[in-house]
């Protein structure tokens, strides 16, 4: 049998300490009174107040959320379509090229993706701004979405859909009432992944954004290059809090959805 040894306990303790202590320090120092990030001078929330008055950060945050929402939605639609093609597409002209184009962006260094998209936008004369960032983000995140959704579709029992069509559903109805509910958890986690990838991206956004549109990571990056500041700590803390709440909620609700689905499937079999 497997035994949880003291060595295991030590590795877990040190491992998680390594993963979490840097973030905890970051959060603690965001409540520091002093401008000097490294010297503790008492508890204060003043940096949060200053952050909320910093127009540049607020504007960037708004652009970032807008870009992430639109691009992840486009990416989810395209990525789900691509997943269908990968799993159920059968043979068609250029299938190898298609799957190559799905997998290549996953391993492509961001600097290259960013550079190539910028050169494209310049050669077709598209002005850089929100639109170009959205196009860039939708392109690389659709590949992640399609991987997530297709891994769920591989395990999907196609006969359920066929049964629905035998019972008189049109293909579209069968898709909407049978397939979609089953792959929905994967589609939702695909959307969330696309959303966070977009929220998080610095390199591709730096290449594809123009002076009219600055995203939060670009703003943070240029501030951080000048050194550590308590305002950035405060901003980071807010982002960490949002992500943590989001991930926990999503994982709890998908877990519930999956167990409900399993129960339904068992009931249906009886």
């Amino acid at each position: 049998m497997r035994k949880f040894t003291w060595f295991n306990a030590v590795s877990l303790t040190f491992g998680f300490a390594f993963l979490y202590i840097p973030m905890i320090i970051l959060i603690v120092y965001s409540f520091n009174e002093s401008k000097l990030v490294t010297v503790w001078a008492g508890f204060s929330t003043k940096w949060y107040g200053e952050l909320l008055q910093n127009e540049a950060f607020l504007d960037a945050a708004w652009v970032t959320v807008k870009v992430a929402t639109i691009s992840s939605t486009i990416a989810t639609v395209l990525g789900t379509m691509a997943a269908f093609v990968l799993v159920r597409g059968g043979r068609f002209f250029g299938r190898t090229l298609f799957s190559g184009m799905i997998y290549a962006p996953l391993v492509m260094p961001e600097v290259i993706t960013g550079l190539s998209l910028l050169l494209l936008f310049i050669s077709v004369g598209l002005d850089r701004g929100v639109t170009t960032i959205v196009l860039a983000h939708a392109t690389f995140s659709m590949c992640f979405v399609s991987v997530v959704v297709s891994s769920r579709m591989v395990t999907f029992d196609k006969s359920l859909e066929e049964a629905a069509m035998d019972l008189g559903c049109t293909p579209w109805d069968a898709f909407r009432s049978v397939t979609l509910p089953i792959i929905a958890p994967a589609v939702i986690s695909g959307w969330l992944l696309a959303f966070t990838l977009s929220l998080d991206d610095l390199v591709i956004a730096s290449f594809t954004s123009g002076p009219a549109a600055t995203t939060l990571p670009i703003k943070i990056f240029s501030a951080v290059r000048l050194g550590v500041s308590p305002e950035i700590n405060a901003l980071s803390t807010i982002i960490i809090a949002f992500v943590t709440i989001g991930v926990l909620t999503a994982s709890i609700s998908t877990k519930r959805a999956i167990s409900r689905q399993k129960r339904d499937e068992q009931m249906a079999q009886q």
């Binding site: 497997r2 949880f4 040894t5 295991n8 306990a9 590795s11 877990l12 491992g15 993963l19 979490y20 840097p22 973030m23 320090i25 970051l26 120092y29 000097l36 010297v39 395209l78 990525g79 379509m81 691509a82 269908f84 093609v85 068609f92 090229l97 298609f98 184009m101 997998y103 962006p105 391993v107 492509m108 260094p109 961001e110 600097v111 290259i112 550079l115 190539s116 050169l119 494209l120 050669s123 392109t139 659709m142 399609s146 293909p171 966070t196 998080d200 390199v203 990571p217 943070i220 990056f221 951080v224 290059r225 050194g227 550590v228 980071s236 982002i239 960490i240 992500v243 943590t244 991930v247």
Partner: protein, 298 residues
């Protein structure tokens, strides 16, 4: 072929074609162009109004000069070599730290596992930039680490870690650790505990059984984890530019500076193409490993 199927295949196909393949071909083309002080800052540009003759002039002006330049200038091949070295060593350190964690997770009681998984995945969802930024405050001369070291009397002078390669290693290990832990954990989780018992019954020592059963069976996960760290680390930009110093040479940073500071688009494009050529080997090996694992699973 009906219309629905055509749309289903056509829309994502055209999207990727226009926004992935075409941009890549443009990079290839510009890498063979020459730097020029103009808008856009390279020559030749294709002039469609002159028809076929225009295309021939354009085609004749393309050459491999930039690639020759890359091999002749020290900076570039040194940057490639040092990126390879940094990525490889960092991958090794990540494995060294990640394996015991994955192993412990696989040995943990069943009811702990979902929470442990969550704890590993959570940092991955948190902003990459913020996780790198967190280390600036820790590693700087007046930073958290030096404060502790000075306070305990281990060092009398603050250690210079920030803006060195050491900081880059720490940054890579820290940010990519989940990518190493998860694939190793997923192979170890499937490991049948009775195999270890069998090995011990057959006369293996505990450590012998660990090596010949656990480590052997975890190999596909270890290989996958190593590639998942090595491939993105090789082209990394954020970590070397925030944690590394002026002496840290990484090709992602060189490409960025070539493009944004020197505005030499043709050379930046050539740097990108060579980086891709270097990456093809690990990517193909990674795909093969995945394929083997999928076949073994079935």
């Amino acid at each position: 072929m009906n219309l629905a199927r055509r749309l289903l295949i056509g829309v994502p196909y055209l999207w990727l074609f226009a926004l992935f393949l075409v941009p890549f071909l443009i990079v290839l083309k510009i890498s063979m162009s020459d730097y020029a002080i103009s808008i856009p800052p390279y020559t030749p540009t294709l002039d469609l109004s002159e028809g076929w003759a225009g295309f021939r002039v354009f085609w004749a002006a393309l050459d491999f000069e930039n690639y020759v330049f890359l091999t002749s200038d020290d900076l570039y091949w040194k940057a490639y070599l040092s990126s390879l070295q940094i990525a490889a060593l960092a991958t090794f350190f990540t494995l060294l730290i990640g394996f015991p964690i994955a192993y412990a997770m696989a040995n943990a009681p069943d009811e702990w596992r979902p929470s442990l998984m969550m704890l590993v995945i959570l940092p991955f969802w948190t902003s990459f930039l913020i996780r790198v930024y967190a280390w600036i405050g820790i590693l700087s001369n007046e930073g958290f680490l030096n404060q502790i070291l000075m306070w305990t009397g281990l060092v009398s002078e603050p250690l210079v870690i920030l803006n060195t390669n050491t900081a880059v290693y720490i940054g890579i290990v820290y940010t990519y650790l989940p990518f190493m832990i998860l694939p190793i954990y997923s192979t170890l989780e499937k490991l049948d505990g009775s195999l270890l018992e069998a090995a011990q019954d057959l006369g293996c020592t505990k450590i012998g059984a660990f090596w010949s059963v656990t480590v052997h069976l975890a190999k596909p996960g270890v290989i996958a984890g190593c590639f998942l760290v090595f491939i993105p680390a090789l082209g990394e930009f954020v970590i070397p530019s925030l944690l590394g110093g002026s002496k840290t040479l990484m090709i992602g940073k060189v490409l960025w500076e070539e493009f944004f500071s020197n505005r030499d688009w043709p050379v930046a494009s050539a740097v990108a193409i060579i980086l891709l050529l270097i990456l093809i080997i690990p990517i193909v090996l990674f795909q093969r490993n995945e394929q083997k694992q999928r076949e073994a699973d079935q």
